[in-house]
Symmetry: C2
Amino acid sequence: MQQQISVITLGIADIARSRRFYTEGFGWSPVFENEEIIFYQMNGFVLGTFLQSSLETDMNRGGLVRPGAFSLAHNVAGEKEVDAVIECLLSAGGVLLRAPDEPPPGGYRGYVADPDDHAWEIAWNPAWAIDARGMVTFGV
Amino acid sequence: MQQQISVITLGIADIARSRRFYTEGFGWSPVFENEEIIFYQMNGFVLGTFLQSSLETDMNRGGLVRPGAFSLAHNVAGEKEVDAVIECLLSAGGVLLRAPDEPPPGGYRGYVADPDDHAWEIAWNPAWAIDARGMVTFGV
């Protein structure tokens, strides 16, 4: 089977509030949007932000809770960029979970919750390559 | 800022149980593993399965709960493949959330929870291109 994920879908409560975080905080552009879902074309897959009630209907399971046991990471090219991205996210409705510092393996990272309490790690990890198209390769 | 996600990290309770689901159910190979984390190199980013207690420490936030308000999707090339992948996942410790059927926009999909209650949608969506390297492009 292909070692592949096609979509990450985040359940959200308010489309406009979430859209502001992703378009103004990260500066990302939607590839599609309507009143219940926004899709962003990412590096080899798609990010969706979907009204939680609609996600629960689609998944055939109610009672989704937050904060969920997961995080997403956006890696950048250096320490100063970590600080800058976190500042942008906080200005666009994010909430600081962890001010940036050095994790045990080295590098530099902090965590911000999006307006729906989904955790984003903003990290500089010099061992992981990121190419010009945003494709990320594991490294140690 | 690059429209890029570097890592999806799932909080898990039991490394061996989760490893079985991803390596036997999906048939994926780790690129790195130790006693608290397993990384899988995916299509342009990395999937991590990390002990929840370690994720909470790293994130500086306790009390992560499940099932979280998100889902991941693995798209395949046809209806029969959806059924086959779901069968593999159920054999490797997955729990059926939604038996496959046709969603409103067309195509075919079902949902399976991994052993830590994280939801996976297995989908055939003929509008979305998947290339030989697993890179997925949004389409309508």
